[in-house]
């Protein structure tokens, strides 16, 4: 048989297959979208705090489990071998579009390694992303001693089943010869050469749950008594009701413990602990990754069901020892997450100053390549001569060529642009293609009006964009615009405003790049 024969034969397939409607597929994954939407809800509510060093959990009695009969199925319980097999990670591939498996208790493995083996990455934890739909590995995350994630996007090699990535200069190789096996390679790493077994069936938290289940048999259980009594044990017929309650719940937990999690209890009594983080939804310790499409769906879902601002949620009074998490925030500069809180005991780190190159040929240090951002060498430079008005507040006032890059081309990678201090009508753009922390969303603009900073802020939801922009405008901050694809806000701020932003209690965005004035 020749390829042409096959092509012709495909042209003769049953009409029924050609007649299928794509939208029906989207409908099939609606429940999944909803689940991920919850993660976005949490992120919107308090996503940044996740990466702040977590305060000690409140005494158990302060985080009351509303139903004492509820059993949270822990990872160790679900996977008997997990507790004593640090080389076991688990994965579930049946029902989710994208999946991240996670290895915990890594310190146990690591304790035999020399202390300074990996200066900043002692590998207390490691996560490996596995795309459930096609089984390919996609992302590797290691956590440093502060539990900060260092994410590396795994690049496939010529071999279908070998992946590479670099994190902090260390090269990781994962062989993925079959759906259940990963062979981990990292020179001098305690796990070098070890086989990691993906236990596919170990955790299937949502497998087999249909939309009907979500509407009729899923009961969201809250931990905080005052907030939970209204709906514990209640069968909710309207999913939006669940989410509205979820909102309260997230806020409560975030405030209580500096950590966010909730449980979902099914009709049969099975309970799952779910912890949303910035991009993932952890279910019983297994992390589900929200890809770009999911993020978009999350934003739409959020807009549909949670029209009230999360900041309006009333947070109940807590004990005196409760950390003031509402004043916590996090700054990410060029992908580096610099957590801090504005509590008096802690010092606010200085914004990171990023070098740049001028157009006069004067060589300045190259933009800093951060450890876990794998940048390729190819760089293209485009010169745009259109003007950007410093006071621009609308996207349409940004030169079209920049808009095209900023707002339409998600794959082009990090965007560096600036306006010459002495000539604000000249803009230089350099697009560097490369891999990014958490997919290809990272982009930034550097804008150099006199004594001002350009900041790029990653909003977690399109819904909050307007609120955030209004809030920023209320502080006298000039907003260049926002990017539709990921809700990134670009703004011009003075140093004073920058400090204000860093300390603001506004939730829902990350400052991820600050220009040099």
């Amino acid at each position: 048989m020749k390829k042409e024969d096959l092509f012709k034969a495909i042209g003769d397939v049953d009409d029924a297959f050609l007649d299928e409607n794509v939208t029906e597929i989207k409908h099939d994954t609606r429940w999944l979208t909803a689940v991920f939407s919850i993660a976005a809800c949490a992120v919107l509510t308090a996503g940044l705090i996740h990466f702040v060093p977590k305060p000690a959990r409140q005494p158990q009695e302060e985080i009351k489990v509303a139903s004492s009969e509820t059993t949270v199925t822990t990872v160790a319980e679900t996977i008997p071998e997990f507790s004593d097999r640090q080389d076991t990670i688990f994965s579930e591939t049946a029902s989710c579009q994208v999946y991240i498996s996670r290895m915990e208790n890594y310190a146990e493995v690591n304790k035999n390694a020399p202390e300074n083996l990996f200066d900043s990455i002692p590998f207390p934890e490691l996560e490996i992303a596995v795309n459930a739909e096609d089984g390919y590995v996609s992302m590797l995350t290691v956590f440093d001693s502060n539990s900060l994630p260092r994410v590396g996007v795994l690049t496939r090699t010529d071999s279908d089943f070998t992946y590479l990535c670099q994190i902090n200069g260390l090269e990781f190789t994962l062989e993925h010869p079959d759906a259940e096996t990963l062979i981990f390679h990292c020179e001098n790493h305690p796990l070098d050469g070890r086989t990691l077994t993906l236990c596919r069936d170990a955790v299937q938290p949502f497998a087999g749950i249909s939309d009907d289940d979500i509407q009729e048999t899923v009961v969201w259980t809250a931990f905080e008594e005052n907030q939970a009594h209204g709906f514990i044990g209640q069968k909710l017929s309207d999913f939006s009701d669940i989410l509205r309650n979820m909102k309260l719940y997230y806020k409560t937990l975030a405030h209580e413990s500096g950590d966010y999690y909730f449980t979902v209890t099914l009709k049969d009594g099975t309970t799952y602990e779910i912890q949303p983080t910035q991009s993932f939804l952890a279910i019983n310790g297994g992390l589900y990754y929200a890809d770009d499409a999911t993020r978009q769906a999350l934003a739409e879902f959020y807009q549909k069901y949670l029209t009230e601002s999360v900041t309006e949620t009333t947070v109940p009074e807590t004990s005196e020892t409760t950390p003031q998490s509402t004043t916590s925030t996090e700054v990410t500069i060029e992908g580096v997450i610099l957590p801090y809180t504005t509590t008096e005991e802690q010092t606010l780190p200085e914004p990171q100053i990023l070098p740049y190159t001028t157009t006069e040929g004067e060589t300045q240090p190259q933009p800093q390549v951060l450890p876990y951002t794998k940048l390729q060498t190819e760089t293209t430079t485009t010169t745009v001569t259109e003007a950007v008005t410093e006071s621009s507040a609308e996207i349409s006032e940004i030169p079209e060529e920049i808009q095209n890059i900023m707002y339409e081309d998600d794959t082009s990678g990090t965007i560096f642009s600036r306006i010459q201090p002495e000539n604000e009508t000249h803009i230089e753009i350099a697009v560097e293609n490369g891999c990014y922390l958490e997919s290809n969303l990272s982009s930034a603009i550097r804008y150099y009006p006199e004594k001002k900073y350009a900041v790029s802020m990653q909003a977690f939801s399109h819904l909050l964009l307007q609120d955030i922009e209004e809030e920023l405008a209320g502080k006298g901050i000039e907003i260049l615009g926002h990017r539709e694809s990921d809700g990134r806000i670009l703004a011009i701020v003075t140093e004073e405003q920058l400090n204000l932003l860093s300390q603001t209690e506004t939730m829902g965005f990350l400052i991820d790049l600050v220009s040099k004035p």
Partner: protein
């Protein structure tokens, strides 16, 4: 005007049949041909041939889904035209890429001239497609029936192009294994 009314026009041998067909399905057929040929003149000729082929086929045929009926005619005509124009050289555009990808599925065939019954192959393909998850099936057909670009498909399904490529690769592997199992390779 709906399909039944248009088909009635064909049966009545009314010239309006072609006009109405073109009005409703012209863009659809054009896009199919364009995916394969990437040449406006060729595409227009191909679509015109489609109307002629439909005129000659109806009656006696009475397609239940006129759109798909026309789409298949267009695809076949476009592919024939593509092959004529690319007999001695590799062409550009999606069709070349699509064929190259499909070549992976038949790569294990020791004898490319191995005889097979096209009808049985079609039936096998239908069974194979039925066995696929719906989304994989649709992505597969978008690529290998309509010859749409990976980027376009990815956009439609709200996935990344890379993800789409990976899905297609997996399906091709499945198809190869299936064809071997069915004795076509």
């Amino acid at each position: 005007m709906d399909d039944a009314q248009i088909i009635d026009l064909y049966f009545a041998r009314s010239q309006n049949a072609v006009r109405e067909t073109e009005k409703i399905y012209g863009a659809y057929c054009f896009s199919i041909a364009d995916n394969i040929l990437h040449n406006r003149q060729d595409v227009e000729e191909c679509v015109s041939d489609t109307w002629l082929r439909a005129w000659n086929s109806i009656p006696p045929q009475k397609p239940s889904r006129l759109k798909l009926f026309l789409g298949k005619i267009t695809r076949n005509l476009a592919f024939d035209r593509y092959r004529q124009k690319n007999a001695d050289k590799r062409g550009n555009g999606e069709c070349s890429a699509v064929l190259d990808e499909l070549a992976e599925c038949v790569a294990s065939s020791d004898d490319v001239e191995k005889s097979f019954d096209a009808k049985i192959l079609r039936q096998s393909l239908n069974r194979f497609l039925k066995s696929l998850p719906q989304r994989e099936r649709q992505i597969f057909l978008k690529r290998y029936f309509y010859a749409e670009s990976v980027k376009s498909i990815a956009g439609e399904f709200q996935i990344t192009a890379n993800h789409c490529t990976v899905i297609l690769k997996r399906v091709r592997k499945k198809l190869q294994a299936y064809l071997e199992q069915e004795g076509f390779l």
